[in-house]
């Protein structure tokens, strides 16, 4: 257990709680500027088509319509929109239903909507392909010349690589299978789901001379700033990005969005500020969601359950633009001498597959976690015992972890959940309502890296903390304030966090990869050392004096791996006649190192679990195979979780001591969703004795499997 600290580790309501409950919190959509125009985007109704003609003249003739952009007068490449090919704001060819064809700025939002209908577009529809595996078959329409296999891309090497599968190998899987007593095979499918954060995409752009200010919800003002500067080819000091409050994102608001650039270009063309608001439907089909996967596993074990070899052949559907890795992850949570993983990331004519909370994990743990459960079941080994035998001791069996509470998460979780008492063999309950329990393990990287912080201590004793974070909903502002208060040694009430504005804050890594606490919190701790030294040497400042300290550390882990771990346990009730699944009890065990704020950290876990249950049971963006049109964009169609569906989630932290990061804190935001779908699928199996191999586990599949 970690040593108790003064401020860090105390359950603390958010420093901006009052703003959030009184409606005073200012989100980007609340910005209203004098002379501001409203913008709307015309989008392709076809999944794949050439734009033969686009004629905005009838729209431009309407009084109040101030600017129209199309591919004919706007050739801007959205620099972070695709890592493989130049993706323009308006592409010709259009490659998915929802690809922008034109944008209108008008004096009124209704006028802008009406004007869209007056833009004449002639399309030549092309063949299209929706499924990743079909897209690789001979004869499939080529979305880009040279075929649909997309280039390898990784976050450590962000440039476009070769068009080849991503391959990871260790040991010798063929030998591993030969040495195994039993070999298991399985095929698992996950579907495209949308982040569906409550705040839709919006951007307000204003030019003052040659300086552009963009108010936009972004999970990284610094990266958004860089992307806008790069895409529009304007110097960085001429761009200001502001995001004071944002309504979630879960990976949907990484970097800049094309809407930021379109708003800026319309504002430039019209000579007036522009607000571009995306509708909920546009957010579902034209931003991005979790990539769908097809996962073929082959796993060899000894009869005592010891893993010998894991082979994964996977396909991920990325839509027509490559914004993220497309990986299928989870194998690293297990120790195993021989691994072969081969992932094909494929262009398709669907909504873009990119970051959504724990991007490659929940779907990977669904497939792999189901396989592990199947093996334990077949070998008649208790799943808890099976996991205690096989969980990862060293990262990829070779690199020590800075800390690991995974064993404790599994052991204590099983006890708190009363696993043994609840356990009964798969499918043994009586019809029609059957109970079952399941578990899965997971985690998420907690790397260190570059961020900056500027601290100012004034003569009133107020500590001003300038950090380039945005609080996506994690409570990051509060976390930063707690870390600063602890590190400098002042009361939390004396801390003022200045964030979300590139003109007032230094670089921060951005709210992705669960990195804000480690990176930017780490920078605060570094700056605080300097500030405290100044304080000790010079005493408190007087009058207009201030003590100022800054730090831009870029720590790197060497020879160690840093990972936050989790083990989840769930009991479900399955109605085999109605096909419904209801979680009854949920225990989430997390090792995130030291917990900076137990209140908000537990909220993160609870939310991640419930989000994951939605992915397990309901959510899927369904495409009409004949037309390539998504048929259920929106909350109702996606069947996201509601108050009626959400179980009470019991959260426990195993606070391992970790020598890295601010006070030993590891990642919190993404780990909670990682094991959920696997645990739910295993609980459903335990209930009905049949394994659902395709997400989501909707009623039709449950009834089909039960009868």
């Amino acid at each position: 257990m970690v040593e108790k600290l003064k401020t860090v580790g105390t359950a603390t309501p958010r420093v901006d709680g009052l703003e959030r409950v009184t409606g005073r919190a200012t989100y980007s959509a609340d910005i209203r500027l004098p002379n501001m125009l409203y913008a709307r985007v015309l989008r392709s109704p076809h999944p794949h088509a050439r734009v033969l003609r686009v004629d905005p003249s009838r729209a431009l003739a309407v009084s109040g319509v101030k600017a129209v952009l199309t591919h004919e007068n706007c050739d801007i490449v959205w620099s972070s929109g695709d890592r493989a090919n130049p993706r323009r704001l308006f592409n010709n060819t259009v490659r998915l239903v929802g690809d922008p064809v034109a944008a209108v700025a008008a004096t009124d939002r209704h006028l802008a909507e009406e004007a869209l209908k007056l833009i004449d577009v002639q399309y030549e529809p092309l063949d299209f392909v929706l499924d990743a595996e079909e897209a690789l078959e001979p004869g499939a329409v080529e979305i880009y010349p040279g075929g649909n296999l997309s280039p390898v891309f990784s976050f450590t090497n962000p440039g476009p690589g070769k068009r080849e599968p991503s391959i990871y190998v260790r040991g010798d899987v063929e030998k591993g299978f030969a040495d195994s007593d039993k070999v298991f095979e399985g095929h698992y499918l996950s579907k495209h789901i949308n982040n569906a954060q409550l705040e839709p995409r919006v951007a307000v752009a204003r030019w003052e001379g040659d300086k552009l200010t963009v108010w936009t919800p972004t999970q990284g003002i610094s990266s958004c700033h860089r992307d806008i500067s790069t895409s529009l080819k304007i110097p960085p000091e001429k761009v200001r990005v502001i995001c004071q409050y944002m309504g979630g994102g879960f990976g949907n608001k990484n970097q800049c969005q094309d809407s930021d650039l379109i708003a800026a270009e319309l504002a430039q063309a019209a000579g007036q500020p522009v607000k571009l608001e995306l509708t909920r439907k546009e957010d579902f089909i034209a931003v991005h969601g979790r990539w769908p996967t097809s996962q073929y596993y082959k796993i060899g074990v000894k009869t005592d359950g010891t893993l010998q070899a894991i082979e994964l052949l996977g396909y991920s559907g990325m839509g027509p633009y490559k914004k993220s890795s497309g990986d299928i992850a989870g194998i690293d949570f297990y120790g195993c001498p021989s691994i072969k993983k081969e992932i094909y990331t494929v262009f398709t004519n669907t909504a873009v597959g990119a970051n959504f909370r724990g991007p490659p994990y929940p779907q990977g743990v669904f497939g792999l976690g189901s396989m592990m459960d199947e093996i334990a079941h077949d070998l008649k080994i208790d799943p808890v015992e099976f996991h205690l035998k096989n969980f990862t001791r060293q990262y990829r069996d070779e690199t020590p972890y800075t800390s690991s509470g995974l064993a404790e998460c599994i052991r204590q979780g099983a006890e708190l959940f009363e696993w043994s008492r609840r356990w009964s063999p798969a499918g043994s309950g009586t019809e029609p309502i059957k109970k079952g329990i399941g578990m899965a393990i997971g985690g998420f990287g907690s790397n260190l890296g570059r961020s900056s912080a500027v601290l100012r201590l004034d003569s009133e004793g107020t500590l001003w903390v300038h950090v380039g974070i945005t609080d996506i909903g994690t409570g990051a502002k509060t976390t930063m304030a707690l870390i600063a208060a602890e590190a400098v040694g002042v009361a939390l009430e004396k801390v003022q966090v200045i964030s979300g504005d590139t003109d007032r804050c230094p670089y921060s890594v951005g709210e992705s990869g669960s990195r804000t606490t480690s990176h930017t919190g780490g920078a605060i701790v570094e700056a605080a050392k300097d500030l405290k030294a100044q304080w000790a040497a010079n005493g408190l400042p007087e009058g207009d004096e201030e003590l100022i300290a800054e730090a831009s550390p870029a720590p790197r882990l060497q020879g160690v791996a840093r990972v936050a771990f989790a083990a989840h346990f769930v009991e479900v009730e399955v109605d085999t006649e109605l096909g419904s699944v209801r979680p009854l009890k949920y225990v989430a065990m997390h090792d995130s190192g030291r917990i900076i704020n137990p209140l908000t950290a537990a909220s993160q876990v609870k939310g991640g679990v419930i989000q994951g249950i939605g992915m397990a049971l309901h959510e899927q963006l369904i495409y009409d195979e004949n037309t390539g049109i998504p048929v259920n964009p929106g909350y109702y169609g996606a069947r996201v979780m509601t108050h009626l569906d959400a179980p009470e989630v019991e959260v426990h932290f195993i606070e391992t001591e970790d020598a890295y990061g601010p006070f030993g804190a590891k990642a919190v935001g993404e780990p909670p969703i990682v094991p959920v779908v696997g645990a739910m699928a295993n609980a459903v199996f335990n209930a009905i004795g049949k394994r659902i191999t395709e997400l989501p586990m909707t009623r039709d599949k449950i009834i089909g499997a039960s009868s």
């Binding site: 309501p13 958010r14 709680g17 009052l18 959030r20 409950v21 009184t22 409606g23 005073r24 919190a25 200012t26 989100y27 959509a29 609340d30 209203r32 209704h110 209908k117 982040n195 569906a196 954060q197 409550l198 705040e199 839709p200 409050y245 944002m246 309504g247 979630g248 879960f250 509708t279 909920r280 996506i472 909903g473 994690t474 409570g475 209140l599 908000t600 909220s603 993160q604 609870k606 939310g607 991640g608 679990v609 419930i610 989000q611 939605g614 929106g634 909350y635 109702y636 996201v640 979780m641 509601t642 108050h643 009626l644 959400a646 009470e648 989630v649």
Partner: protein, 199 residues
Amino acid sequence: MKPITRRSFLEKSGTGIAVAGTIPALSIPVPQRGSSPDASAPTSQIQLKVNGQAHRIEVEDRWTLTEVLRDHLGLTGTRLGCDRGECGACTVLLEGKNVYSCSYLAVWADGKDITTVEGLARGDELDPLQQAFITHDGPQCGFCTSGQLMSARALLNDNPHPTEKEARQAMAGNVCRCSNYNRYLEAVLAAAEEDTSRG
């Protein structure tokens, strides 16, 4: 075929969409107007009482209540999440009942009494629900929070001591994608314990 506009859709469906879970018992009078909904922006003079303050405003008939509150009265605490009656971020109290203001035309609200999130506190004194939302960490991203508060307020006005099940039912039309449902429920039940006397 005439294109479907929001106005024609809402009028044909004959009702605004009440927040799911609160049985849509509101009967909403649909004002009869001569002009075609597709003609260029007919307007009406309406009176609203918002958070106790009377307003007389000229509105386009196609404007929703959300638009009028946010864009014309500056009450941006009411959020717009889906603009189609699915998420509940825009929930306000209309004559004490919670309604989706995105699916309620401003002209229908003529003469009505409306409460938004800005009207919950009395001066510096927070509504017990607001205080409980802070203490129990209800808002994560906070975008659904105003709507959650308004549905919770409607619930406690009708039913000062709800059971957990009643609270879930009453709030079912308010989606939280951060999925902080445990916290919101805790907060509502805690506020109900503390004080249910307010309207």
